[in-house]
Symmetry: D2
Subunit: 222 residues, 4 copies
């Protein structure tokens, strides 16, 4: 049976409850299009996040790796298309959960500038929209731990030539986090809505080995 590894993060910075944790837990154990989902929560720290996800990959043996993170300020689930070899905390004014602050350092000193995610991104966006979940493509995964982990896993998979497709879904704040004074005004999405979107995206990723060619309109232009 095809296995899908889903990863999430716990609390960090201004986010006491991480949608990536709750949504990963919500889809854990689901069987989607004949594939079984196994979820793991990994550390929200630059270098530990990659080590923990590599270990989870070794243990679970997935054909598909879907990593989840929070992107406060976004209103839709966004499918990241690209990860770059650059870490830059300054943009967010925060340290990672290990207290590490990186401002300009690469993830892999010998790695390429960037990798593309190997998931069928258009198919995943269209599947989520058809399921009634606001979703879009993104070309900017940020320069914090999310981009780092996506880059790190794509680099790991490429160097070891592993038969694993890997991609990233960014989730909006949870409502209870957007209700806090410090995040006020930010859009939000409930765990149930996020989990429904993730399931639709996984179904699309499992059933499409190539991406679809159909273009579609997008609003996430910045």
């Amino acid at each position: 049976m095809t296995k899908v590894l889903v990863t999430g993060f716990g609390p960090y910075a201004d986010t006491p409850t991480n949608p990536a944790q709750l949504a990963a837990e919500a889809v854990d154990g689901r069987v989607i299009a004949g594939a079984s989902v196994v979820s793991r929560i990994v550390p929200g720290a630059y270098f530990e996040s990659v080590a923990a996800t590599v270990q989870a990959v070794d243990e679970v043996g997935p054909e598909l790796l879907i990593m989840l993170g929070e992107f406060g300020g976004r209103s839709m689930i966004t499918v990241e298309r690209l990860a770059q070899n650059l870490n830059d905390c300054a943009r967010y004014g925060v340290a990672d959960t290990a207290g590490e602050v990186l401002n300009g350092q690469p993830t892999a000193p010998d790695g390429p500038v960037a990798y593309w995610a190997t998931t069928p991104n258009r198919a995943m966006v269209i599947a989520m929209r058809r399921a009634g979940i606001p979703a879009d493509l993104s070309d900017a995964a940020g320069t914090f731990v999310c981009n780092h982990l996506l880059y790190g896993m794509l680099h790991h998979i490429a160097r070891h030539d592993l038969p694993i497709r890997a991609g990233w879904l960014h989730l909006p704040h949870l409502p209870e986090v957007a209700a806090l004074d410090r995040n006020l005004g930010a859009p939000s999405m409930s765990v149930d809505t996020a989990a429904a979107g993730i399931s639709a995206a996984i179904e699309a990723a499992v059933t499409h080995t190539d991406d679809i060619a159909d273009p579609f309109p997008s609003r996430l232009q910045i």
Copy 2:
């Protein structure tokens, strides 16, 4: 037993599913702080909306009237503080559900410029935030059917000196509506989240006859 009348609208314009309808139906029959909630769906047309709500008030006999509407583009449940005696469809580029287009006409030719809602608005916002629901005050209910109905009911209650407190909650798009091409990028809120917020707001309105004095930060400045 105290009665709370909640009103919602059905589909209109670019909104095939109205959060105000689904949320009104979700709280219908709930008993909140000893008050029983009765929900009614009223027409989304300027003048019929007031007539239908006046009739529902006559039938239900509420002490508290909470009207619901959709405000596409907002990320939070907003408590409207003011309704003005002006209808202006041009801003939205749409007609009401009866095909009526008003651009500058008053709701009540002999009425005052504006009314304030008579609900404890600060208490309602704080109660929703404490319940984990993004919420804020608003001073602009728009110039479409929502503002019209709020003005119309406050005018009706004032002229007839009815012992009814009345206010308005604006809801973001539903996720399935924000997932449509024409609304893409707009923030959204699930029915469950909206209904939890409405319940918290009703509890605050039932238990506070005066509003609270505590100010709080706000982000809805436009």
Copy 3:
């Protein structure tokens, strides 16, 4: 010769340079559609602002009063349609320039809930857009000193039955203010662009005693 009094404010809160001051000074002395513009900078404090503007009206004797303020976060020049009898600093987390914090107090304890501006607002918006200046109508002048002064002057003019039409233009941040860390990401508008918009709006106000009927699309829905 028709006289137009334009007022602006100086620095306050997070705004070390006020576009309302620089733009008022930029149009001072201009002759527009046969009307001469006289500008005055008034205090950015709740009650002093009204007293100073009343005094300026007495001295200048204008037929038209155009008051200017800054509305950080807006991208367009906005023509305010309504002022309400409510002051609420909490929304902004700031005091006025006299250190006064009002949270719920009226401007005029015996005044009506709201006044409408008596300027031809649609004509002013259309004239600005035709001049290439982003502009829109607004129904929410806020609850800080701007709304207070607009309400205060409309109340003064109404009580004394003065033959003066009065309205309000809100300006975006200046670029140098939007470049500060604390305002980063906010849209901005240069003094030259703002002054060109104000001149176009004044020309429309001088030449239209009635507002135009043509509706137009609007994006400032929140």
Copy 4:
């Protein structure tokens, strides 16, 4: 004398007047920190844009190449950090000025996933902010002609090992373009403000061969 080549584009899609053209023309001939600026307007078409810029580089012989484009919806001048080997018109719903629509094709079939701009990007952002111009870093140059030209020139310079540093500045809409119905609500920036920012950025790029290490806050997180 050090030479700086600045490129801009003409009208396209919903932009009848391109800030990149007007700003390029405004800085043409300026001498900045001892370097002379030469501006050229290049075609807004995928493949012609690279050919024309390569030819301009050959003719002018610059040490520094600063390319300009419009990014409607952004409020600040943004310094692009990365260009990717992917063209995708679907996001924008437009063709290039030659009528070409690319949805997924690479710029260089044999090229790497991405290049980083070789300008001192942090220094340029800080210099613009100090000059009073709203500015920020960006990691997403889009997937239209701007990203294509930036990728194309970085690829050309890398393959031919040319001693030219190259980067990109994205400009907001001009006010007259943001005043059009179809762009209403978008932030804007005047030509004078944009040209002042570009000059400050060029001065920083000429005087910093290495980027500065100081991080700074950013708001362009999406």
